[in-house]
Amino acid sequence: MIASPQTTAPAAGSPPVSPEAGLTYRPNVDIADCGDSLVLIADIPGSSAEAIDVRFEDGVLSIDAAVLPRPAAGTTVRREYGIGGYRRSFQLGDGFDGGQIEAGYQHGVLTVRIPRLAAVQPRTIPVKAS
Protein backbone atom coordinates (compact mmCIF):
# COMPACT_ATOMS: atom_id res chain seq x y z
CA MET A 1 0.00 0.00 0.00
CA ILE A 2 2.96 2.31 0.58
CA ALA A 3 4.27 3.96 -2.55
CA SER A 4 7.98 4.40 -3.12
CA PRO A 5 9.59 7.41 -1.44
CA GLN A 6 8.94 10.59 -3.29
CA THR A 7 9.01 14.27 -2.76
CA THR A 8 5.58 15.81 -2.85
CA ALA A 9 5.34 19.21 -4.43
CA PRO A 10 3.14 21.72 -2.60
CA ALA A 11 -0.38 21.83 -4.00
CA ALA A 12 -1.14 24.92 -6.00
CA GLY A 13 -2.56 27.67 -3.87
CA SER A 14 -1.59 26.08 -0.55
CA PRO A 15 1.64 27.34 0.98
CA PRO A 16 3.93 24.77 2.58
CA VAL A 17 4.05 24.44 6.35
CA SER A 18 7.40 25.93 7.30
CA PRO A 19 9.23 24.81 10.40
CA GLU A 20 8.18 27.00 13.26
CA ALA A 21 10.77 29.69 13.88
CA GLY A 22 12.81 29.12 16.98
CA LEU A 23 11.33 25.73 17.83
CA THR A 24 13.97 23.11 18.34
CA TYR A 25 13.38 19.58 19.50
CA ARG A 26 15.58 17.07 21.23
CA PRO A 27 15.74 13.93 19.10
CA ASN A 28 15.52 10.48 20.63
CA VAL A 29 18.92 8.84 20.46
CA ASP A 30 20.16 5.27 20.84
CA ILE A 31 23.85 4.62 21.46
CA ALA A 32 25.58 1.31 20.82
CA ASP A 33 29.10 0.42 21.86
CA CYS A 34 30.73 -1.58 19.09
CA GLY A 35 34.13 -1.88 20.76
CA ASP A 36 36.25 -0.02 18.24
CA SER A 37 33.61 2.69 17.84
CA LEU A 38 30.46 4.22 19.25
CA VAL A 39 27.36 4.26 17.06
CA LEU A 40 24.80 6.96 17.67
CA ILE A 41 21.36 6.65 16.10
CA ALA A 42 19.06 9.69 16.19
CA ASP A 43 15.42 9.92 15.06
CA ILE A 44 15.24 13.02 12.85
CA PRO A 45 12.15 12.62 10.65
CA GLY A 46 11.52 15.08 7.83
CA SER A 47 15.08 16.31 7.37
CA SER A 48 17.65 15.63 4.65
CA ALA A 49 21.35 14.80 4.53
CA GLU A 50 22.14 18.32 3.33
CA ALA A 51 20.23 19.94 6.20
CA ILE A 52 22.02 18.03 9.00
CA ASP A 53 25.19 19.39 10.57
CA VAL A 54 27.30 16.95 12.60
CA ARG A 55 30.33 18.39 14.40
CA PHE A 56 32.97 17.02 16.71
CA GLU A 57 34.90 19.66 18.60
CA ASP A 58 36.80 19.53 21.90
CA GLY A 59 35.39 16.11 22.66
CA VAL A 60 31.78 17.21 22.09
CA LEU A 61 29.68 15.70 19.31
CA SER A 62 26.83 17.99 18.29
CA ILE A 63 23.94 17.39 15.91
CA ASP A 64 22.02 20.29 14.42
CA ALA A 65 19.31 19.50 11.88
CA ALA A 66 16.75 21.57 10.00
CA VAL A 67 13.55 20.00 8.71
CA LEU A 68 12.12 20.56 5.28
CA PRO A 69 8.86 22.46 4.78
CA ARG A 70 5.89 20.11 4.39
CA PRO A 71 3.08 20.76 1.94
CA ALA A 72 -0.02 22.18 3.58
CA ALA A 73 -3.42 20.60 2.98
CA GLY A 74 -6.26 22.75 4.24
CA THR A 75 -7.26 23.27 7.84
CA THR A 76 -5.43 21.48 10.63
CA VAL A 77 -7.85 19.25 12.56
CA ARG A 78 -5.45 17.47 14.88
CA ARG A 79 -1.83 18.03 15.70
CA GLU A 80 0.26 15.89 18.03
CA TYR A 81 3.75 17.02 17.12
CA GLY A 82 5.38 20.28 16.15
CA ILE A 83 7.62 20.94 13.22
CA GLY A 84 10.98 22.44 14.04
CA GLY A 85 14.68 21.75 14.02
CA TYR A 86 16.55 19.14 16.05
CA ARG A 87 19.56 19.77 18.22
CA ARG A 88 21.53 17.70 20.69
CA SER A 89 25.11 17.37 21.85
CA PHE A 90 27.11 14.72 23.67
CA GLN A 91 30.24 15.06 25.75
CA LEU A 92 32.33 12.13 24.54
CA GLY A 93 35.72 13.23 25.81
CA ASP A 94 39.08 12.38 24.34
CA GLY A 95 39.83 9.01 22.92
CA PHE A 96 37.81 9.35 19.71
CA ASP A 97 39.11 9.98 16.24
CA GLY A 98 37.27 13.07 15.04
CA GLY A 99 38.75 12.79 11.56
CA GLN A 100 37.20 9.36 10.93
CA ILE A 101 33.61 10.02 11.96
CA GLU A 102 31.03 8.82 9.43
CA ALA A 103 27.39 9.87 9.25
CA GLY A 104 24.47 8.68 7.13
CA TYR A 105 20.77 9.54 6.88
CA GLN A 106 18.03 7.13 5.78
CA HIS A 107 14.30 6.85 6.48
CA GLY A 108 14.45 9.80 8.88
CA VAL A 109 17.23 8.31 10.98
CA LEU A 110 20.74 9.74 11.37
CA THR A 111 23.48 7.21 12.11
CA VAL A 112 26.87 8.49 13.29
CA ARG A 113 29.81 6.13 13.75
CA ILE A 114 32.58 7.55 15.95
CA PRO A 115 35.76 5.42 15.93
CA ARG A 116 37.91 5.21 19.02
CA LEU A 117 41.57 6.16 18.70
CA ALA A 118 43.71 3.07 18.17
CA ALA A 119 45.73 3.86 21.30
CA VAL A 120 42.66 3.61 23.55
CA GLN A 121 40.93 0.67 21.92
CA PRO A 122 40.64 -2.30 24.21
CA ARG A 123 43.18 -4.92 23.34
CA THR A 124 43.45 -8.52 24.31
CA ILE A 125 46.99 -9.53 25.22
CA PRO A 126 47.72 -13.19 24.61
CA VAL A 127 49.36 -14.97 27.51
CA LYS A 128 52.10 -17.29 26.43
CA ALA A 129 52.90 -20.41 28.31
CA SER A 130 56.55 -20.73 29.19
Binding site: M1, I2, A3, S4, P5, Q6, T7, T8, Y25, R26, P27, N28, V29, D30, I31, A32, D33, C34, G35, L38, V39, I41, D43, I44, P45, G46, S47, S48, L68, R70, A72, A73, G74, T75, T76, V77, R78, R79, E80, Y81, H107, G108, V109, T111
Partner: protein, 165 residues
Protein backbone atom coordinates in the same frame (compact mmCIF):
# COMPACT_ATOMS: atom_id res chain seq x y z
CA UNK B 1 12.35 48.52 64.59
CA UNK B 2 13.64 45.71 66.71
CA UNK B 3 16.92 43.97 66.44
CA UNK B 4 16.84 40.23 66.31
CA UNK B 5 19.99 38.60 67.56
CA UNK B 6 21.73 36.60 64.90
CA UNK B 7 21.88 32.94 65.66
CA UNK B 8 23.23 30.28 63.54
CA UNK B 9 21.33 27.07 63.15
CA UNK B 10 24.20 25.36 64.88
CA UNK B 11 23.82 27.59 67.94
CA UNK B 12 20.12 26.69 67.97
CA UNK B 13 21.00 23.04 68.09
CA UNK B 14 20.01 22.44 64.48
CA UNK B 15 22.47 20.91 62.15
CA UNK B 16 22.33 22.26 58.63
CA UNK B 17 21.31 19.59 56.18
CA UNK B 18 24.36 17.94 54.83
CA UNK B 19 24.68 17.84 51.08
CA UNK B 20 27.39 15.66 49.82
CA UNK B 21 28.61 16.39 46.35
CA UNK B 22 27.17 13.09 45.16
CA UNK B 23 23.64 13.88 46.36
CA UNK B 24 23.81 17.28 44.67
CA UNK B 25 24.97 15.61 41.49
CA UNK B 26 22.16 13.07 41.76
CA UNK B 27 19.65 15.87 42.25
CA UNK B 28 20.96 17.81 39.29
CA UNK B 29 20.93 14.72 37.10
CA UNK B 30 17.37 13.94 38.16
CA UNK B 31 16.23 17.50 37.37
CA UNK B 32 17.97 17.34 33.99
CA UNK B 33 16.24 14.07 33.28
CA UNK B 34 12.84 15.48 34.20
CA UNK B 35 13.36 18.59 32.09
CA UNK B 36 14.62 16.64 29.13
CA UNK B 37 11.70 14.25 29.39
CA UNK B 38 9.22 17.10 29.57
CA UNK B 39 10.55 18.95 26.56
CA UNK B 40 11.34 16.00 24.38
CA UNK B 41 8.97 14.63 21.79
CA UNK B 42 5.99 12.79 23.25
CA UNK B 43 6.87 9.19 23.93
CA UNK B 44 3.31 8.04 23.56
CA UNK B 45 0.74 10.14 21.79
CA UNK B 46 -2.69 10.22 23.36
CA UNK B 47 -5.30 8.92 21.00
CA UNK B 48 -9.04 9.30 20.89
CA UNK B 49 -9.98 5.67 21.16
CA UNK B 50 -6.61 4.01 21.14
CA UNK B 51 -5.55 1.46 23.63
CA UNK B 52 -1.92 0.54 24.01
CA UNK B 53 -1.16 -3.12 24.21
CA UNK B 54 1.93 -4.11 26.20
CA UNK B 55 5.06 -3.95 24.09
CA UNK B 56 3.45 -1.75 21.46
CA UNK B 57 3.69 1.99 20.90
CA UNK B 58 1.57 4.69 19.32
CA UNK B 59 2.99 6.95 16.64
CA UNK B 60 2.06 10.64 16.79
CA UNK B 61 -0.08 11.99 13.95
CA UNK B 62 -1.39 15.22 12.54
CA UNK B 63 -4.52 15.63 10.44
CA UNK B 64 -5.67 18.36 8.05
CA UNK B 65 -8.71 18.56 5.81
CA UNK B 66 -10.20 20.50 2.94
CA UNK B 67 -13.78 20.29 1.65
CA UNK B 68 -12.89 17.22 -0.40
CA UNK B 69 -9.81 15.65 1.20
CA UNK B 70 -8.29 14.53 4.49
CA UNK B 71 -4.53 14.26 4.92
CA UNK B 72 -2.93 12.40 7.83
CA UNK B 73 0.76 12.37 8.59
CA UNK B 74 2.67 10.21 11.07
CA UNK B 75 6.30 10.45 12.05
CA UNK B 76 7.73 6.94 11.75
CA UNK B 77 11.52 7.29 11.56
CA UNK B 78 13.63 4.23 10.90
CA UNK B 79 10.91 2.01 9.51
CA UNK B 80 11.11 -0.03 6.36
CA UNK B 81 8.15 1.09 4.20
CA UNK B 82 7.39 -2.60 3.57
CA UNK B 83 6.74 -3.01 7.32
CA UNK B 84 3.91 -0.45 7.38
CA UNK B 85 0.26 -1.30 6.76
CA UNK B 86 -2.40 1.29 6.10
CA UNK B 87 -6.03 0.19 6.08
CA UNK B 88 -9.09 2.34 5.60
CA UNK B 89 -12.75 1.83 6.24
CA UNK B 90 -15.36 4.52 5.65
CA UNK B 91 -14.80 6.27 8.94
CA UNK B 92 -11.55 4.88 10.29
CA UNK B 93 -7.88 4.78 9.29
CA UNK B 94 -5.52 2.28 10.87
CA UNK B 95 -1.74 2.63 10.62
CA UNK B 96 0.14 -0.38 11.92
CA UNK B 97 3.48 -2.09 11.52
CA UNK B 98 6.72 -2.91 13.20
CA UNK B 99 9.95 -1.05 13.83
CA UNK B 100 12.84 -3.47 13.87
CA UNK B 101 15.93 -2.92 15.98
CA UNK B 102 19.14 -1.85 14.26
CA UNK B 103 21.97 -4.24 13.51
CA UNK B 104 24.33 -2.27 15.77
CA UNK B 105 22.82 -4.02 18.77
CA UNK B 106 24.87 -7.09 17.81
CA UNK B 107 28.09 -5.43 19.09
CA UNK B 108 28.74 -4.91 22.76
CA UNK B 109 25.10 -3.94 23.12
CA UNK B 110 23.18 -0.74 23.65
CA UNK B 111 24.56 1.66 26.20
CA UNK B 112 21.62 4.03 25.86
CA UNK B 113 18.13 3.67 24.35
CA UNK B 114 15.40 6.23 23.82
CA UNK B 115 13.58 5.28 20.62
CA UNK B 116 10.68 2.87 20.29
CA UNK B 117 10.94 -0.59 18.81
CA UNK B 118 8.48 -3.32 18.13
CA UNK B 119 4.93 -3.28 16.90
CA UNK B 120 2.83 -0.18 16.65
CA UNK B 121 -0.78 0.49 15.77
CA UNK B 122 -2.82 3.62 15.57
CA UNK B 123 -6.54 3.77 14.77
CA UNK B 124 -7.71 7.22 13.76
CA UNK B 125 -11.43 7.99 13.63
CA UNK B 126 -12.07 10.16 10.58
CA UNK B 127 -14.12 13.34 10.89
CA UNK B 128 -16.16 12.39 7.80
CA UNK B 129 -16.73 9.26 5.74
CA UNK B 130 -14.20 8.67 2.99
CA UNK B 131 -14.04 6.67 -0.21
CA UNK B 132 -11.84 3.63 0.64
CA UNK B 133 -11.00 3.18 -3.03
CA UNK B 134 -9.37 6.58 -3.28
CA UNK B 135 -6.48 6.44 -0.84
CA UNK B 136 -2.82 7.06 -1.43
CA UNK B 137 0.09 6.73 0.98
CA UNK B 138 3.76 7.45 0.71
CA UNK B 139 6.73 7.32 3.06
CA UNK B 140 9.55 9.82 2.76
CA UNK B 141 12.35 10.68 5.21
CA UNK B 142 10.61 8.97 8.09
CA UNK B 143 7.25 10.66 7.55
CA UNK B 144 4.20 8.71 6.39
CA UNK B 145 1.57 10.74 4.53
CA UNK B 146 -1.90 9.32 3.78
CA UNK B 147 -4.24 11.22 1.48
CA UNK B 148 -7.95 10.36 1.61
CA UNK B 149 -10.87 11.57 -0.46
CA UNK B 150 -14.17 12.27 1.25
CA UNK B 151 -17.27 10.45 0.02
CA UNK B 152 -19.37 12.63 -2.25
CA UNK B 153 -22.27 12.30 0.17
CA UNK B 154 -20.25 13.69 3.04
CA UNK B 155 -18.66 16.66 1.30
CA UNK B 156 -20.25 19.83 2.50
CA UNK B 157 -22.49 21.61 0.05
CA UNK B 158 -23.73 25.13 0.01
CA UNK B 159 -27.52 25.09 0.18
CA UNK B 160 -29.22 28.02 -1.46
CA UNK B 161 -31.97 29.63 0.60
CA UNK B 162 -35.06 30.30 -1.46
CA UNK B 163 -37.22 33.20 -0.48
CA UNK B 164 -40.94 32.90 -0.96
CA UNK B 165 -42.68 35.56 -2.98
Amino acid sequence: MSLIPFRTKRSLGMEPPSFSSSSLTDFRNEMNRLFEGFFSRPAVAPGWFDTIEPGRWLPAIDMAETDETIRIRAELPGINPDDVDVSVSEDRLVISGEKKTEAESSGNGWTHRESHFGGFSRAVPLPETVDPSQVSAHYDKGVLTVNLTKSPASTSRKVPVITAG
